[in-house]
Structures are given as structure tokens and as C-alpha cells.
Amino acid sequence: MVFSSLFFVYFFLALNLIIYFKTQTIEKKNIVMLVFSLIFYSWGGPRYLFLLIANCLIAWICALMIEYYEEYAKLFLVLDIIMQLSILAIFKYLGFFLGTVRFFTGVPEIIPQIALPIGISFYTFQLLSYVIDVYRGEVQAQKSFWIILLYASLFHQCIAGPIVRYQHVERDILHRTVKRKEMVRGIKRFTIGLAKKAILANGCAAVADTFLLTDDLQALSAVPAAGLWLGMLFFTLQIYLDFSAYSDMAIGMGLMIGFHYRENFNYPLMSDSVTDIWRRWHISLSSFFRDYVYIPLGGNRKGQGRQILNLFIVWFLTGLWHGASWNYVLWGLWFFVFLVLEKLFLLEKLETLPRAIPHLYALVVFYFGWVLFKFEDIHAIGIVLRGMLGLGGNGLTNMQVALAFKNNIFFLIFAIIASTPLLRKLYESAGMWFKRRKIVPYPIYVYNIVCPVVLLILATIALVGNSYNPFLYFQF
């Protein structure tokens, strides 16, 4: 199930909230959340529910063992990591690995087709962080298996992040209370996320898909240069709006019932350097790699050579985490190159320049990164890069591009504004204006009452519009 579907919003979530608020004790509330989460997870087929449960069992037992047999703590930690990563490797990377082996050696002939269990990359990392944190003594092992299962499967964040750490939500799981102030914030955050996804991200996808044809290389090489640039621009916006919308919705739904998830995005399009991008983009993932890979490997404490190697490992893995294909690895390494340059000298240089220049540099790196991300076929990446320079005999522009641009010009401007903190800044300064004058901010109250409702209705309209699918010939 996806958050941005009518069924989720008007059936699943509505029912979940009604039952949740009718339930009295925290234990019962947790049972409600667990049951809903397991149903949510099984919606795409219950097959992989068993895998999720098995993963949780492993983490639950290993964490308890680590605490109980202190002298063997390391053993159980290693055991847990090996088991969790093996499951991830088999279900996500086996086909990719064998495909690469076959490319070089010609064997094996048959590559097993394993469907990717939904959310496996997210919940595996969550469970890993839990066990490692127990090992590090940062959090106590949880005695109840159901709590661990709830932690990993909680439908707010199970399938698309943020990667929540157990130590950050333990209190909320066991003792949360709902504050009306937070619920108000949660409602606003959720509806913003829903509208962002249903209207902006889906709208950007529609334009991007017109030009970035992933399944037909011949057609792709005929797309004129301006079409590719425009398509990549919409794709860049799409992927940010889409992904951050999911985090908005997760954070919002969490606040409605007393969970506090950490921010996952902080306006990455405002970055001044690649280092800055990764402080603002998918924060829960980059901090996972920082805390559980980079620093344990020695970080920057073992000399420059070792630091660069550590960065390489981290960015290789970050790329690979996004998908089982070499283009994602390339995408990770693309950032690695700039991060190393920045560490060596570039960052210092950038700081001396007027702000617009580092900002532009960061955007360019970010933008071209998505070319690597969008196309799993390496040939397609070549075609697009050549095509963007007009070297593919594809022409500079055509009427389709001009019309797509003209037809979506206001939408594009709005999508860009929505990717910056501009609207939030305006809202905050309006709040300050009232505060300074000690006036009750009635206009802001009205805005906050109306805004979620309008966004919810607009998102609903857009979601119904998505199912508009006219056919030429049809006999009833």
C-alpha cells in the first residue's frame, strides 16, 4: 500500500486513527498499531511478512544475548550483522551479483528472479542500528519481541523511511502521549506531504517521463537536447518532492499519535556544497552510514589515505543501497569524487566565493547525479549525456519540448518554490510579526485550520485524476 492512495487515506488511515483513539492504554494502542502495520505490510502479498518477522526475531534474540552474555557480546553482534546482511544480500543483491559474474565469466546461465521484499533495505538498517546500539550500550535490549516487531514494521516508516533508530523512539513506543499542539503540527505536516506527493511529485513525474524514456533506447536517443534537460530538471524535482513527501507524511502521522521521528530532509536544493547536500538529503541514511560504517572504520582519525578509502567504502555502499544495479554505485561514487575534492581543498575555496557560485556548483553536481540514478542501463546514461550536449544527432529542441515547457511553466515555478524554504520563511515571519506586537495571530490560525483541509481535498482530486485513463475504442 502506498500513502498517496485514496484507499490508504480514506480507509486505512481513517480506520487506524478511529480505533487508535478509541483504545485506552498504551499496551492496547501498541497492539492496534502492530496489527495495522502488519496488514499494511502484507498488502502487497503476505509472503514477505515472514521475512520481516524472521529479521525481527534475529535482531531481538541477538540483542538479548548481547546483553545477557556480556563476554560474548561481540560474537552475537557479528552473528546478527552476518545474518541480517545475508538476508538483504540474497533478496536484494543476488540477482545483480550473479548477473555481474555472468557478464565476466559467462556462468551461471540461469539467474534466479527474486522479487524484492518491500522495505527490506529500510527495516534491515533499522534493526541493525538497534542491535549495534545495544552492543554499544546506548540503549537497553527490549525483552518483548512484539515491541521490536512494532518498531521495525510500524507502517509510518517501514517501507520508505525515515530510517528510525530504536533509541530515538523507545520512549515513544513505551510511554507516548498525544499533545494537541503536536497533533496540530502532525495534521499540517501530513497533508503537506500528501499534497506534495499527489500533486507536485506526480505532476513532475508526468513531464519527466515524457522525455526520459527508460525502456526504449532508440526513442531516447531521438529526444532533443532541451527535452533531456527539461526532463532531468523535472526528475530532480520529482525525486526530492516524492521522497521528502513520504518523510513528511511519516513524520506527520507520527506526531498525530505521539511519535517523534527526526527530520529526514532539510531543503537539499539550498546546499552550498556536496558535503552540505548530504547533510540535508536523506539525513537518516547518511547518518546511518556515518555512525555505523564511516566512524567504526576509523573515519578521519587514521590519516588522509585511510579517510579517502573510508569515504569510498561509504559511498560505494550508499549507492548500492539505493538499488541493485551498477548505476546506483556510480551515483554514489559520483558524490564520493566531489566529497574528496571538497575535503582536500575545494570546501575552503568555496567558502571564499560569493554564495551564488558554490550554490550553483552544488546544484549542478546534484542535477547530473540524477542522470546516473535515473537510468539503470549504462548505455542510456551515455545516450542522455551525449544528447544533452546535442551530440547525438537529436537536435536542440522541438515543439513537444516547447509545449511541455509552456504548458507547465507555472507548475514548474511552484514546484521549485516548494523545494525551497521560501514559503516556510514567509509563514514564520508572519508569526513573528504578530508575536512582536503581542496580537493574537487570528489570520495564522485561520490559515492553519483551512490549509490542511484544502490540501487534503486538492490531493484527493489529484489522486482521482491520476486514475483518469481514457480509451479510444471500447464496447460496454
Binding site: 490508504f8 480507509f11 505532476g203 515524457t210 513537444q400 483541509v453 480509451f471
Partner: protein, 474 residues
């Protein structure tokens, strides 16, 4: 009371007042949101309000899935419930037109291209030689192992992936300029080559039994726009596509009589030969095709002035819905003008339920829905129809093998034959009498002329050719 305490009590009273306002404000936010959410939830549960079909989109909406353990296990059961829920949401048509109104704000939408497909054009081989299509690469690389965030996007985009299982074709990309819409044409080599070999095969199956005429009807974009304008749009030339098909059919099989109607249509493109809001040609457009057919057969066409006509204004066709209901089209509907055969206006047809009906060649559709006025011709797309000309006793008989473009064409033939039969190749299998055996039909009815009439869509993929050739596999 000292001044200080008075101030303090005033400010604490003020504080309490503020807190009360804030409490009320929070209650308002929460109740407004949950109110709308619950109203939506209740509406979503009102099953009788859920539409089953969409008149505008010409399709049946998703149904509640059939129960099976297999479907539950692989997840299709539940995902189909989500799809059903979204696809048949109450007030669907109203919400969709609201969506259209929101999208109008996206940009300057005077001229626009509405993308309903991700089709693109193959180059048409220039020297006319038959060229084999390359297998398209990269297909397997598609959706399967995308990053997870992107995967969610892809899924949400196509909630109707499995809604349709019959031959119907999706509205292609629609180009709207002023009050006129065009369906964009993308040539596909594989589809064209399939068509070429199928026509050859069909003639061979009918060799010595009947004469095979082949007509390819171009859509409006290839006739009404100049070559330069078509090139700018990045679409394929239908004139070139048709000559590629016909020259190769003739090379394979000189017995097929290919009737090229392009030039005659272009010569008359200042007349009302195509609808502006629908992908079909008008009856007048079909008449110019009839003229060319008569030329090929060596007979004299009935002059257009001799027919009685009927007019049905207020027609808003497929391109109107395909454009996302562009206002410039909605404000300027088409008029369907039908020419009634001189000999008779009576016909019979076999319906989709297999039963026989009597009907009119040109039916009065004045009171029909705005989007179904094209159905005035020969009862629309029926599996099998017969029109008998009472003025003739010479035993002449033809059969038109067609899709919907044929409907406007058939009435003109009525005066030239004693029997005019019509077969919609997409549905002929429904007619149990022949079990989809077309050759048997031709023999039984002693038909001399077999007229194959398809749009150039037949050159864009293999679906039309395959239903047509399916009738010859017995």
C-alpha cells in the same frame, strides 16, 4: 491592591484568555481535518454511489477482485482492492473534471500536448524496402530493480494497469491547438511489417474466392497538418507509412488491390472531413475514401449531392476526453453529418450478446450522449451486420472488414451491392455461427469483394493485425 498585583492579575487573565483561544484554535484544526477525513471515509464506503463504468473514458472501471488463495498470496487480491477503491471512487467524473480545472493553472495551455502513452516513432524506411525491426533493448532493465522510493512513484501512477483485457486501444498522445485536437501518430516498424505479411496471408487464404481490397485510413493529423507541422511535432508521416505498407504488400502479393486514399483526402482538407474533438473521420471524409475505392473497382460513385442527410450537433468525442476535457474543445463541439443510403436505411446485426437486432444504417442519435454521436453509423461496432439493397437482384456482395473507421464508410457501399456485409474483426469471434472462420463466411454468402479497412493505427502495433488475421487461422 497595589499597581503591581493589578498588573499581574490582568496579565494572567490575559494569559488565560490567550490559552482559551489557542485551545479553541487547536480544536478547530483537529476537527476540521478529521471531519473531512471522516466524510471522505464515509463517502468511500457508500457502495451504491460507486460508478461501474466511465462514459467519458469509454471503459469499464476496475471490479472488486475475485477471491482466490493464489491472488491473496501473491498480493494481487489486495492491490486490486486498492485499485478498485480508487478507480470507482464516488463522484469520480466530477472530481476528474475538477482535476482538469486545477491542471489548467499549470501553465499556458492554449496549445498543448496531452500524453496518454509513452509511444515514440520508429523511422519509416525511406527506400521502401522492407526492413526488419530491431528488438528494443533496455526493456528488462525497466521497473524491476529500481530504487525503492522511485518504485512507489511508479506504482502510484498506473492504478489501472490490469483494468482492460479486450482489444481497445488507449488514447494516444493528443495535440490540442485552438478548437481542434489531433491524435499523434507514431509509426512502429514491427507493427507495419506484421500488417504487411498479414495482408499477404489474408489474400492467399481468399485467393480464387474473392478480390481483396486494402484501405488504410490516415488519421486527421496526417491530412490536416502540413508535412512541416508534423515534423515539428516529432511524429511520423502517415503518407510515407502508408506507401511503405502498400509498396511492400504489392511486392509480396500483386493480387491485393491497395487503395491509397491519402491524396484525395489531402485535396479536400479544407472541407469538414475529420472531427475536431474525435479521432474519427466524418462521413464526408469516408466518402472521399469511397470515391477512391470506386476508382479501384472501376465503378461510378454515387454523387454526394444525391444523398439525404441527417445532422447530429453537440458531439464531443474521444479526443475531448483524451485531452483531459480541454475547454477549447468543450466549447466547440462537432456536428455529425450522416448520409442515408438511397436504396434503404434498414439493416440487421448480431450484437455482442450474440442476438440478432434490426436497426437503421443511419440511426437517429439526437438524444444520445454527447460522446456517442459517432454511433449513428451502422449501430456502432458490432460483430456482424447485413444490409440488403432491395433495388438489386444481381447477387453482388461485399464484406467490409473494419474497425470503427469503417462505420462511416459502409453506408456509401449499400447502393452498389445487393448485399453489404460488415465484420468488425475485433469482435467477429462472438458470432457463434462462424466460430471466427472468415473464409467460411465469404464462401457461404458468395461474397466477391472483401474490403479491409483499418486506420493507420494498424501500423503502430500488432494488435489490430492480429485480431484481423485471427479470423483466418481456421
Amino acid at each position: 491592591m497595589s499597581k503591581q498585583t493589578r498588573n499581574r492579575s490582568r496579565s494572567s487573565a490575559e494569559k488565560r484568555r490567550r490559552m482559551r483561544i489557542i485551545r479553541r484554535y487547536r480544536t478547530a484544526v483537529i476537527s476540521a481535518f478529521f471531519g473531512v477525513l471522516l466524510i471522505g471515509a464515509v463517502i468511500g464506503l457508500l457502495l451504491p454511489l460507486r460508478p461501474k463504468t466511465s462514459v467519458l473514458e469509454k471503459r469499464e472501471l476496475e471490479k472488486w477482485p475475485a477471491f482466490s488463495l493464489q491472488a491473496i498470496w501473491d498480493g494481487t487480491y489486495f492491490s486490486q482492492i486498492s485499485t478498485w477503491y480508487a478507480d470507482t471512487f464516488p463522484f469520480r467524473e466530477k472530481l476528474i473534471s475538477a482535476d482538469g480545472n486545477v491542471k489548467k493553472l499549470y501553465g499556458l495551455r492554449g496549445d498543448q500536448i496531452v500524453h496518454n502513452s509513452s509511444k515514440t516513432a520508429d523511422a519509416i524506411p525511406e527506400d521502401g524496402e522492407m526492413v526488419q525491426a530491431e528488438t528494443k533493448t533496455g526493456e528488462n532493465a525497466a521497473a524491476e530493480s529500481q530504487a525503492e522510493t522511485v518504485r512507489e512513484t511508479e506504482k502510484a501512477k498506473d492504478p489501472n494497469g490490469n483494468a482492460i483485457n479486450v482489444v481497445p486501444e488507449q488514447v494516444g498522445d493528443v495535440y490540442v491547438t485552438g478548437d481542434t485536437a489531433f491524435s499523434l501518430f507514431y509509426f512502429a516498424l514491427e507493427g507495419a511489417n506484421e500488417y504487411i505479411s498479414d495482408i499477404d496471408l489474408i489474400q492467399k487464404k481468399l485467393d480464387g474466392i474473392a478480390t481483396v481490397y486494402d484501405i488504410l485510413a490516415p488519421s486527421s493529423v496526417g491530412i490536416m497538418l502540413t508535412d512541416q507541422a508534423q515534423e515539428k511535432l516529432g511524429i511520423s508521416s502517415q503518407k510515407e507509412a502508408i506507401s511503405y505498407a502498400f509498396s511492400n504488400i504489392q511486392k509480396l502479393n500483386s493480387k491485393v488491390k491497395c487503395v491509397n486514399i491519402c491524396q484525395n483526402l489531402v485535396d479536400h482538407n479544407s472541407e469538414y472531413i475529420y472531427f475536431r474533438t474525435d479521432h474519427h473521420w466524418t462521413a464526408l471524409g469516408a466518402y472521399y475514401a469511397y470515391e477512391e475505392f470506386c476508382k479501384a473497382k472501376g465503378i461510378k460513385p454515387t454523387p454526394i449531392s444525391e444523398y439525404e442527410t441527417m445532422e447530429f450537433p453537440g458531439f464531443l468525442g474521444t479526443l475531448y476526453s483524451g485531452s483531459g476535457q480541454a475547454a477549447s474543445l468543450g466549447d466547440n463541439p462537432d456536428t455529425v453529418i450522416a448520409y442515408i443510403p438511397k436504396a434503404t436505411n434498414d439493416m440487421t446485426y448480431i450484437g455482442h450478446d450474440g442476438a440478432e437486432y434490426t436497426w437503421n444504417v443511419v440511426e437517429d442519435v439526437t438524444d444520445w450522449e454527447a460522446n456517442s454521436k459517432y454511433n449513428c453509423f451502422i449501430g456502432g461496432d458490432e460483430p456482424f451486420s447485413v444490409i440488403e439493397n432491395p433495388n438489386k437482384t444481381d447477387g453482388t456482395a461485399c464484406v467490409v472488414v473494419k474497425e470503427s473507421y469503417g462505420n462511416a464508410f459502409v453506408p456509401f457501399l449499400v447502393d452498389n451491392y445487393q448485399y453489404t456485409y460488415v465484420v468488425d474483426h475485433r469482435y467477429f469471434a462472438i458470432y457463434s455461427e462462424y466460430g471466427n472462420d472468415f473464409v467460411k463466411l465469404v464462401k457461404d454468402k458468395k461474397i466477391q469483394d472483401v474490403i479491409l479497412l483499418n486506420t493507420t493505427n494498424a501500423l503502430c502495433d500488432t494488435s489490430l493485425s492480429s485480431t484481423m488475421v485471427g479470423m483466418f487461422e481456421k
